[in-house]
Symmetry: C2
Subunit: 360 residues, 2 copies
């Protein structure tokens, strides 16, 4: 039904080895023979079967990606970055979501050696020895937004510095009593952000009391409740730092529902500079992260290592940290209130839009 390499060989009057040499541009083939083979390929509409290729060549040209099972546009950006890097390198992308029960790690069997050539794990809570066991078998793994040490390569955003810069910004503008809306406490980015806030406060001789940290989970609505807790404090905090934009947006709504004006009565800032950030009212002061680049670089790194394994053993970085950037809009009350239209919009879609022509 579908043409195989044998059909092409017969049709062109050559052996299958020659056809393979043509399709792979491997060894020298007589120009005339090559032309005949190419012609047969066109005529039969032949495509080498990638599965057979993977089996024979011990290389699948496929990159594995594991992402948490959460509906956050944030991760979509990472996926896009990974996808672009993979397809630019001629690789396919195989996606799996983190298993339901954390600790089950079905993707370990999903993506065993032979299935994919390399693997990118995004914000997945793994132990170093689990990862090591896989890399030992020859499957390179890159961790994104996660660092377990032990020579496992990681790529992440400088959460610590971002949180610290934001906190210092608030302190510089006179805010003293800060409240913090935390994300889920088992994610490393949350820990780093909290550490950044704490350190900045300590440097200014201030502290973050335990009751000024409200626990959220990064998702819709969790910021609303957390904010209500913080507003119940006496005296209430002057500024609220939420661990992501989603919760910051919730916090703004909670403040407004309580009859407070943002930023006049209370400042609210976020982290991510995601799509939500430009649609809050007032526009959200936040920390932007190069999310797309995070995915892009992770994929590049993974593929580089995969190829280095078979070529020379170049030294790959153990850790890559991408910069974060403070984005001051209106919700912190620190910027001139006259809005200029460009700065008040999030740049979230910027990167991608420049790379790829819009379609939908």
């Amino acid at each position: 039904m579908v043409a195989t390499i044998f059909d092409v060989a017969r049709h062109a009057g050559v052996s299958i080895g020659t056809v393979s040499r043509v399709t792979n541009n491997r060894d020298r083939v007589h120009p005339e023979t090559r032309e005949r083979v190419l012609c047969a390929i066109r005529e039969l509409n032949y495509r080498p079967n990638p599965v057979a290729r993977g089996l024979a060549g011990q290389q699948t040209n496929t990159l594995g990606l594991v992402i948490p099972q959460v509906n956050d546009p944030f991760y979509f950006q990472i996926v896009r970055g990974v996808e672009d890097a993979a397809s630019d390198a001629g690789y396919n992308l195989l996606i799996a979501s983190q298993p339901q029960q954390p600790g089950e790690h079905t993707y370990l069997s999903f993506f065993h050696r032979g299935h994919v050539d390399a693997m990118v794990l995004v914000a997945i809570d793994v132990r170093a020895d689990e990862v090591q066991a896989i890399t030992d078998r020859g499957l390179p793994i890159i961790l994104v937004q996660q660092d377990v040490g032990a020579n496992i390569p990681s790529i992440l955003v400088d959460n610590y510095y971002g949180a610290r810069a934001m906190t210092e910004h608030l302190l510089e503008h006179g805010y003293r009593r800060l409240g913090y809306i935390a994300g889920t406490d088992y994610t490393p980015d949350n820990r780093e952000r909290l550490r950044g806030v704490r350190d900045a406060l300590v440097d200014h001789g201030l502290a973050l009391p335990a009751d000024h940290i409200a626990r959220g989970n990064y998702l819709r609505d969790s910021g609303f409740r957390a904010m209500q807790e913080l507003l119940a404090l006496d005296p209430t905090p002057e500024a609220i730092f939420a661990a992501n934009d989603q919760m910051a947006a919730d916090a703004i709504m909670a403040a407004q529902a309580a009859g407070l004006s943002v930023p006049d009565d209370i400042a609210v800032v976020g982290f991510d500079d995601g799509p939500v950030a430009s649609y809050t009212n007032p526009p959200l002061t936040t920390v932007s992260q190069p999310v797309y680049e995070l995915g892009w670089q992770a994929a590049r790194l993974a593929l580089d290592i995969s190829r280095a394994d078979r070529d020379t053993a170049a030294v790959a970085p153990r850790l890559v940290q991408l910069p974060t950037k403070l984005v001051v809009r209106q919700s912190c009350g620190c910027s001139p209130s006259a809005l200029d239209q460009t700065s008040r919009r999030s740049t979230w879609t910027g990167n991608l839009a420049e790379r790829r022509p819009p379609t939908r």
Copy 2:
């Protein structure tokens, strides 16, 4: 380095055929032998190589997904749905983005038969004969948000009815002069939505003049400019219907930038009920779509057809249309102004959150 079926066979003192029968639960194997094989598998940490399996079994257990190369959280929801359905069925998910140049269709070679067992195309502009050529070779294809007829199975949302219901809602509440902010005109959903608006107006003896349709592209900022065009009309429209939430949010900003109050001076409504919808001010009246289900059902359908091919030839639906729902919030000025907290929030994350435990 990595154990193969031969290693297991030797270790357990059986033939590879028996090992294969054990790993596939295929034929009957003596309980005692099975136990010995299982033990060897555990001991050697053996996993059948999926590539070899794919080649021998003529089935890859992989579902191919092609999505437009655009940074829209909307598509992420579809991907999640597809991913869940695939992984529930024990399938892997291979993702490709639409090629840069529309019409190039590199994914056709990406996903040729033998690579994936079935394919889901989301909002991709293909011709019926292109798709037919692939399905003829035995690769089932499901189209999402796209219908090319010609017996190619499609699954989409009832865009026509959604737009029509929204328009009728506006008309019922006394709005007469409507403006429409269109999406890219080559996408079928945009055409259907426009048709719904037109038909509803015609039924009420009204029309939609050409200058009351402003062209956007579904993306950030395009709604802003489109709204400015519509506001320049004299008399200005009383209500603006944008083809998606993103542009509706832009339109609200444009109106406010022009000193108009929404909905008091002008009503603005959208389509999608995506994450943006709950963060506009005022909260956006819009049409909600079961996006996650769209992906989920598409994947199920694709896999069903794929398996039907090898079993009995059950009749698969040619077209599946999922319902849309009008979601009335404040931006149309039709709801009681007292906000109740539950109805003003988007339900966007609802479906998924119930299915899967939040992680990040």
